[in-house]
Amino acid sequence: MIEGRIDSLYRYPVKGLTGEMLQRVSLVAGEGFPADRLFGFVRHGSGFDPARPQPLPKDRFLMLMKDERLAGLEASFDPANWHFDVRVQGHLVHRADLSRQDGRDATEAFFATMFDIPHEEMPRFVHAAPHRFTDVSVVSSGLMNAVSLINLESLRDFEMRLGKEVLPARFRANIYFDGWPAFSELELVGREIMIGEARAIVTLRTRRCAATEVNPRTARRDIPVPRLLMQHYGHSDLGIYAEIQDDAVIEPGSRISVMGAN
């Protein structure tokens, strides 16, 4: 048996914006991380219809792959009351109630200003829960509700090969864990793992995109992560997606294991 421990837990209520560290998460069978990527800002002409939500390619959203300056905002969004704050270097620059039309208008205008978007092409705040705006939502509805995991041992192996620090936050995972051999997680597609007391099926390796080139501290692209993964490992995968099979509460320190592994 391979056994490790959960290091940290994050959700990203608004796609592309700041993650929120969690001390306890209640996993629910068949669902993704609570309040993860339920909200987003779509670009003009995205074709998103909240009444009939269909998965959209990630480039239809404001997101880090194209808009690395988003990493320079400290956003906080409360999924309970939809209060939204944006800070720049600790200073409040925008506050709105996204449950109100005027709050949404002001917030859409904030992003339009920041990204030089003309008035007639304003981005739009969208949500259509339980629809989630995860990158892999375009693959299947099961994956739309999968949780993302990063093995910190894999990341350390990558850092060692590069000889430089690669912040885990680049990968915007829900669950960061430690204690499995580097990259062993990539061999588990189709297998069952235990996350705390919940069974989960590993469904996909996470192929990394250019969003991971953005340094969360400097809000600039610096390390070409997908290319370097390809050069060092012959693939650009780091991390996995898993679909949750049981209800369970998890927290940092919870066990994460592979049953029956050698």
């Binding site: 194209k66 320079g72 720049v88 270097q89 904030f110 030089d116 250019a210 692209r221 290319r227």
Partner: protein, 314 residues
């Protein structure tokens, strides 16, 4: 590269302990090619190395080029040789000024200079003042002794336009930019200085429209560590052409033009955006095509052209 100007050093004076001003005139006494505020002059230093320095005089002048050079003891020798080996009346080779940092027309301007970054800012300030524009400059140095042109900037000519600030190396006395940046408005912000200052301003103006934020940029270097230059894309199906700027990918440009495209990694690794290559000399930057595939396929999220034009079947 060919030199195309012959200049004579007409004046040399120390501005601070390590910054020296050099004034050049045409060797033949003729008027010099015009320049625009923000432009730099590339000269052959006595060390043999070619170096570029921002012009700091008024861009209305055609009789002289003025630069100020900080002596970099740990540098590659260009600035040291200027300080030590170039004397009044000596001739130097130069290339006509080039501007990668031009002023755009704006209702109001905020100029921020750190240390030797004053040089392009001073030329901009002179021109904006002459034109009666609404301009404010913030000039940061460690101490007044280290502030080149401090006397000039405190003279009546620039009265009320310039804030000088010295932190004396004390982090507690760091200039507080926040009141200037809190709310984006109609100002255009130009800045030049050491990397720490450039990064601080980048992060503190992250919520400002990019078209209003201007700094000496090193565009053309992308996340793949390559040098990029502009080229033209021809779309085989329609014959349309698209200009691909040095800081844009083909995918960026087509997406801006609403040409639908499947893509995923945008880093040249997954192959989702692969298209047939029709003509032109490709600069393949992907990591997913085989050498054989590269004869007829192309990855437009990262790859570029070595020729002026490339034709793709899109």
């Amino acid at each position: 590269m060919q030199a195309n100007l012959s200049l004579r050093l007409s004046q040399k004076r120390d501005l601070t302990a390590d910054i020296c001003e050099f004034t050049f005139v045409a060797a033949d006494g003729a008027p010099l090619p015009r320049f625009e505020a923000g432009a730099h002059l590339t000269i052959e230093t006595p060390s043999g190395a070619w170096r570029s320095y921002s012009l700091n005089n008024d861009d209305g002048e055609t009789s002289r080029y003025v630069i100020a050079v900080k002596r970099e003891e740990q540098g590659r020798g260009g600035s040291l040789s200027l300080h030590r080996q170039l004397h009044v009346d000596q001739l130097v080779h130069a290339r006509a000024p080039h501007n990668g940092f031009a002023l755009v027309s704006a209702p109001r301007y905020l100029l921020i200079a750190g240390g030797i970054g004053i040089t392009p800012m001073l030329s901009m300030l002179r021109r904006l003042r002459r034109q009666g524009c609404d301009v404010h400059m913030v000039y940061l140095t460690r101490s007044r002794d280290m502030a080149a042109y401090a006397d000039l900037l405190e003279s009546p000519e620039f009265s009320g336009l310039v804030t000088l600030h010295h932190d004396h190396g004390d982090p507690k006395r760091t200039y507080d930019f926040w009141p200037l940046f809190a709310t984006p408005d109609d100002r255009h912000i130009y800045f030049c200085g050491p990397p720490a200052l450039m990064n601080a301003i980048y992060l503190r103006t992250i919520h400002w429209p990019r078209r209003q934020i201007h700094s000496e940029s090193f565009s053309g270097v992308d996340a793949q560590d390559g040098q990029a230059s502009a080229f033209r894309l021809r779309r085989a199906s329609t014959g349309e052409t698209f200009d691909i700027a040095a800081d844009k990918s083909i995918l960026d440009v087509l997406r801006d033009r609403r040409i639908a495209f499947a893509s995923s990694c945008e880093s040249g690794t997954c192959g989702t955006c692969k298209v047939p290559l029709v003509a032109g000399e490709p600069d393949h930057r992907d990591l997913c095509l085989s050498e054989e595939e590269r004869q007829s396929a192309f990855i437009p999220c990262v790859s570029r052209a070595l020729s002026d034009e490339i034709t793709l079947d899109i």
